[in-house]
C-alpha cells in the first residue's frame, strides 16, 4: 500500500470516528425540532405604537406641567396619533415664553406652527430607535418569562419583520397558559382614586359633567366580592399619573389574603418605597387603586403610611396567582403583543412522525443499496460504504453544528442518499465507458474520477444554491430540511470523490496489474 493511500485511509477513519463521537449518544446529541418532539411555535407582533404613545403622552404631560408652573395659558394639549401631539391656542403675547419652555424641557419632537397652534411630531430617528428598543425590551422580558416557565431549549428571537418575535417552546402541553404568560403586559400601577366606584362608565363620566379632566382617567375594576357574590365590574376615576409602577418592584410572589384566598404579594425597591411612603403619607384616608394592565384589581383605603410591601387581591386561582407573580417578577412588557401565527404539535403526533420518517428513510436506504449491489456488484459495495459514511458524517456534522432535526429534515436524509447514489453512478458509468474504450482497470478508474469530478462540483453547487434560498425562505421544519440538505451535499462531495476513490485504489493496489473490475 502506498504512503499516499495510507494517509487517505487514515483521514477517512478519523472523519468517521469524529463523526460517531459527535453524535453519540444520538438521543442527547441530535436535537429534534418541534414537529418531531411536540411543542408550540408562536410568532407575535410587538405593538410598538404603544410605546410611542406612552412617550408622546409623557412628553405632552411634561409640557402641560411646565406651562402650568410658568402660567402660560394655552387652549389645550391633545395627543393625536401615537407619535404626535398638538398644542392649540398659544397666546401671541406668550409665544416667546412658550418657546423658551420648549427649550427647557428639551423635546425630541419636530415642531411645526400654524398660527397659534403647534404640532409636535416625534423625530423619525427617535421613532426608529424607540421601536427597536421596544422590541428588544419585549424580547428580554419574554425570555425571562419563558425561562421561569422551565422549558428546555426554548427559542426566543426576533423574526423576519422588524417588529416580530418568534417563540418556540418544545414539549409544552398547556399552550394557552404559556400564551397568556407571554402575552400579559403585566404593567402594575398604583394610582390615587379620585372618585368611585361607579356602577357603569356613563355614570362615572357624568360625575365630571361628561368632561373628565386631562389628568384623570376612568378605569374598569373589580368590585369587592368578599361577601361571596358573583364578581361584578365597577368604574373608578383615578389619577392618570401613577404614584408607583411595576418598574419599582423588587419581588412578587403568590401568597394568601386575609380570607385565605390566593393573592400576590409584592415588595418595592428603595426608590419605590420612598415614593410609596411619601405618597401614602400625603393621602391617608383616601383610596389607592392597584391597577394591573388597565384594570383596577382592588382599591383599599390608605390607613397609614405604607412603604415597601403591597398585595394584589382578586378572584385568583392558585395557578393564576403563581403566574401573575411570575409575570410581575419578569417585568412589564413595554408594549402589547398580538399573535400572528401559532402551530402546536402534540407529543404523540411527533413520535408518530419520527417513526414514519425513520421507516421511510430506512426503506429507501435498504432498497437503494440492494440495487447498487446487484447492479454494480463489488463496486456497489463501494457505493454502500461511501453512502453510509456520508450519512454518518451528516449526523456528526448536524450534532456538531447543533442543527435541528425536523421531519422534512428526514426527507433531506433521503435526498442525500439520492445524491450519493447519483455521484457514485456518474463515476461508475464513466469507469465502465473508459473500460469499454479499452483502458486498463487502473487507468479507467483514474479517468473516471477525473472526468466526473467537475460534473459533481457543478451539480452540487447548483443544488446548494437552491438549498440556500430554501434556508432563507423557511422557518422551523423547512430550515431543518435546508440544513440537512446542505450538510449532506457537502459531505457527499467528500465521500463520493475521496472515500470512493480511496476504496478503488485500495482494491487496485493489492494486485500488480488487475485485469478486470467488478463493476
Amino acid at each position: 500500500m502506498s504512503k499516499n493511500l495510507r494517509w487517505k485511509l487514515l483521514t477517512i477513519v478519523a472523519v468517521v470516528g469524529l463523526s460517531i463521537f459527535a453524535f453519540t449518544p444520538p438521543a442527547e446529541k441530535i436535537r429534534l425540532g418541534l414537529d418531531l418532539k411536540g411543542g408550540v411555535h408562536l410568532v407575535m407582533r410587538v405593538q410598538t405604537d404603544d410605546a410611542l404613545r406612552v412617550e408622546t403622552e409623557a412628553s405632552a404631560d411634561r409640557l402641560r406641567e411646565a406651562l402650568r408652573t410658568q402660567a402660560i395659558g394655552v387652549g389645550g394639549i391633545t395627543v393625536g396619533s401615537p407619535s404626535e401631539f398638538r398644542v392649540a391656542g398659544v397666546p401671541t403675547a406668550q409665544d416667546a415664553q412658550f418657546r423658551q419652555a420648549l427649550v427647557d424641557i428639551d423635546l425630541m419632537y419636530d415642531r411645526s406652527q400654524s398660527g397659534a397652534d403647534y404640532t409636535f411630531r416625534l423625530k423619525p430617528n427617535v421613532v426608529t430607535q424607540l421601536r427597536d428598543e421596544t422590541v428588544n425590551q419585549a424580547l428580554q422580558t419574554i425570555e425571562r418569562r419563558v425561562n421561569e416557565l422551565g422549558v428546555a431549549e426554548p427559542v426566543v428571537a426576533r423574526h423576519s419583520e422588524a417588529d416580530q418575535i418568534l417563540v418556540q417552546l418544545p414539549g409544552v402541553s398547556d399552550v394557552n397558559r404559556a400564551k397568556e404568560i407571554i402575552r400579559s403586559t403585566a404593567l402594575l400601577e398604583l394610582k390615587l382614586v379620585e372618585q368611585g366606584p361607579f356602577a357603569d362608565e356613563a355614570s362615572a363620566r357624568q360625575a365630571f359633567a361628561n368632561n373628565v379632566p386631562p389628568d384623570m382617567q376612568i378605569l374598569p375594576g373589580n368590585m369587592d366580592t368578599a361577601a361571596g357574590g358573583p364578581p361584578t365590574t365597577g368604574y373608578y376615576a383615578v389619577r392618570r399619573v401613577a404614584a408607583v409602577t411595576g418598574r419599582d418592584l423588587r419581588n412578587a410572589r403568590p401568597s394568601l389574603d386575609e380570607n385565605n384566598r390566593p393573592a400576590v404579594s409584592f415588595s418595592l425597591n428603595n426608590e419605590g418605597a420612598t415614593k410609596m411612603g411619601n405618597f401614602t403619607q400625603a393621602n391617608i384616608n383616601r383610596q389607592l387603586a392597584i391597577v394591573l394592565d388597565g384594570r383596577v384589581y382592588s382599591a383599599p383605603m390608605i390607613q397609614s403610611r405604607i412603604d415597601a410591601e403591597g398585595r394584589i387581591t382578586g378572584n385568583f386561582t392558585q395557578q393564576e396567582a403563581g403566574d401573575l407573580g411570575l409575570v410581575l417578577r419578569s417585568g412589564a412588557l413595554p408594549a402589547s403583543l398580538t399573535y400572528l401565527e401559532e402551530r402546536t404539535v402534540g407529543p404523540s403526533l411527533g413520535a408518530d412522525s419520527v417513526r414514519a420518517g425513520v421507516y421511510a428513510a430506512s426503506g429507501g436506504l435498504v432498497f437503494v443499496l440492494l440495487f447498487m449491489l446487484v447492479y454494480y456488484k463489488l463496486a456497489g459495495f463501494n457505493a454502500f460504504v461511501s453512502i453510509s459514511i456520508n450519512l454518518v458524517m451528516l449526523l456528526g456534522l448536524m450534532a456538531y453544528a447543533g442543527a435541528v432535526m425536523t421531519l422534512p429534515g428526514i426527507a433531506g436524509f433521503i435526498l442525500t442518499i439520492g445524491m450519493g447514489v447519483d455521484s457514485n453512478v456518474l463515476i461508475f458509468e464513466r469507469i465502465k465507458e473508459e473500460l469499454a474504450a479499452g483502458k486498463n482497470a487502473r487507468a479507467a478508474v483514474a479517468a473516471g474520477f477525473d472526468r466526473v469530478f467537475w460534473t459533481i462540483v457543478d451539480t452540487h453547487v447548483a443544488s446548494l444554491i437552491a438549498a440556500a434560498f430554501l434556508f432563507q425562505f423557511g422557518t422551523g421544519p423547512i430550515r431543518g430540511f435546508a440544513t440537512t440538505l446542505t450538510i449532506g451535499l457537502l459531505s457527499n462531495v467528500f465521500t463520493a470523490v475521496f472515500v470512493s476513490r480511496a476504496m478503488f485504489e485500495m482494491f487496485l493496489s493489492r494486485r500488480e496489474q488487475p485485469a478486470t473490475l467488478s463493476i
Partner: protein, 323 residues
C-alpha cells in the same frame, strides 16, 4: 450489468414534439387552475386554522361535521392519515378579524363544539393557526425564493457553461415547476410550506440532471468539432442515459418510500417530489437540450462555430483543467 448497451436513440429528433406536448400540458394546467380560481392555497398562505383531532374510537366524518354545525365559516372536514388512527382534520378559512387576541378563537370554538357533541373522547394531535399577515408574508417569500433560486442557478450555469445553456436550464426548471403545480392542483393538494420546499428541491434536482448532460456536451464539443450541435447533444444524452435512468429510478423509489411510509405530514412533500423527479428527468432530455440546440444553432452553424463564437476562453479553461 447494463440497462442500455451502447444506446443510440435519436432524442433530438423529437424535440419539437416534446416542446409541443409540454406546452400543451402546461397550458392545460394553467387553464385548469384559472378555471378553479387560481392555485389552491393552504392556510400557510391564506391564513386560517387547522385542528387535527384523534378520537379514541372510530367516528364518521359526517358526525364530526354535524357537531361543528354551530361553528361559522366554510369548513373542510376530512379523515387524516390511516383509517385506523381515527383522526379527523378540520380546516377553517381565514378569520374575519385582522389579527390580535382572537387568533385562537376558531380553534377554541372547534374544540368546544367537539366537546359538547357527545363524540368519543379525543386528543388534539396538532393545531395550526396562521394569521393573514404571516400568510401574505409567506406567499411573497415563497415566490421570491423560488424565482431567486432559479435565477441564481442560471447565473452559475451561464458562468460555467454558456448563456444558451443557462436559458435551456431555466426553461426546463420553470417547466418542471409548472408541470408539478398542475399535477398538485389536479390531485387536489393545497400549496403549503412543505410543498414549496419540495418545489425548491425540484429546482435543484432538475438542474442537477441538466448539468450532467451539459457537462458531457461541453466535453463532446472538443472531440466532435465537425459534427452539428444536434449530434453532439444527442450523443451526450445517450452517453449519460444509463446514469439518468438509474439516478432517477433510485431517487424516485426512495421518495416513493417516503410517500408510502413517511406519514401524513410529508404526503404532499413526497408527492411533489415524485412528480418533479419524473418531470425533471424528462425535461432534461427533451426540453433543456432542445432549447440549448435551438439557441445554439441561431448563434452559429455547427458545434465548432458555436464554440468559437460562444465562449472560447471557458473551453480553454476546461481543457487546461483536465490535462
Amino acid at each position: 450489468m447494463a440497462i442500455f448497451d451502447k444506446p443510440n436513440y435519436d432524442f433530438i429528433k423529437w424535440r419539437w414534439h416534446a416542446l409541443a406536448a409540454s406546452t400543451l400540458v402546461v397550458v392545460a394546467g394553467i387553464v385548469f387552475m384559472i378555471a378553479r380560481g387560481g392555485m389552491p392555497l393552504g392556510i400557510d398562505f391564506t391564513g386560517g386554522t387547522i385542528v387535527v383531532a384523534k378520537f379514541s374510537q372510530a367516528v364518521e366524518v359526517d358526525r364530526v361535521r354535524a357537531a361543528l354545525e354551530s361553528v361559522p365559516g366554510e369548513k373542510v372536514i376530512q379523515s387524516y392519515g390511516d383509517a385506523a388512527d381515527n383522526a379527523v382534520l378540520i380546516r377553517l378559512p381565514q378569520l374575519a378579524q385582522e389579527e390580535g387576541t382572537s387568533l385562537e378563537k376558531d380553534a377554541r370554538a372547534v374544540v368546544d363544539a367537539l366537546n359538547g357533541a357527545g363524540l368519543p373522547t379525543f386528543e388534539i394531535l396538532s393545531q395550526e393557526i396562521v394569521g393573514p399577515v404571516i400568510g401574505r408574508e409567506l406567499q411573497l417569500k415563497g415566490i421570491y425564493a423560488t424565482l431567486a433560486s432559479i435565477v441564481g442557478i442560471a447565473i452559475y450555469i451561464a458562468l460555467r457553461f454558456r448563456p444558451a445553456f443557462a436559458i435551456g436550464a431555466i426553461v426546463a426548471t420553470l417547466h418542471d415547476v409548472l408541470i408539478t403545480l398542475t399535477f398538485l392542483a389536479f390531485f387536489g393538494y393545497d400549496l403549503s410550506l412543505n410543498i414549496v420546499a419540495a418545489l425548491l428541491t425540484i429546482t435543484g434536482y432538475s438542474v442537477n440532471d441538466t448539468i450532467v448532460i451539459f457537462d458531457r456536451v461541453r466535453e463532446n464539443m472538443r472531440t466532435m468539432r465537425r459534427d452539428p450541435l444536434e449530434k453532439v447533444v444527442n450523443t451526450a444524452v445517450n452517453q449519460t442515459l444509463g446514469r439518468t435512468v438509474i439516478t432517477a429510478g433510485t431517487t424516485f423509489l426512495s421518495v416513493l418510500s417516503l410517500f408510502l411510509f413517511g406519514g401524513e405530514v410529508l404526503h404532499g412533500f413526497a408527492f411533489t417530489m415524485l412528480v418533479g423527479i419524473v418531470s425533471g428527468t424528462y425535461s432534461t432530455v427533451f426540453i433543456a437540450a432542445a432549447i440549448a440546440i435551438i439557441l445554439g444553432n441561431s448563434q452559429g452553424a455547427g458545434a465548432g462555430a458555436a464554440v468559437a463564437a460562444g465562449a472560447p476562453v471557458k473551453v480553454k479553461a476546461a481543457t487546461a483543467r483536465r490535462s
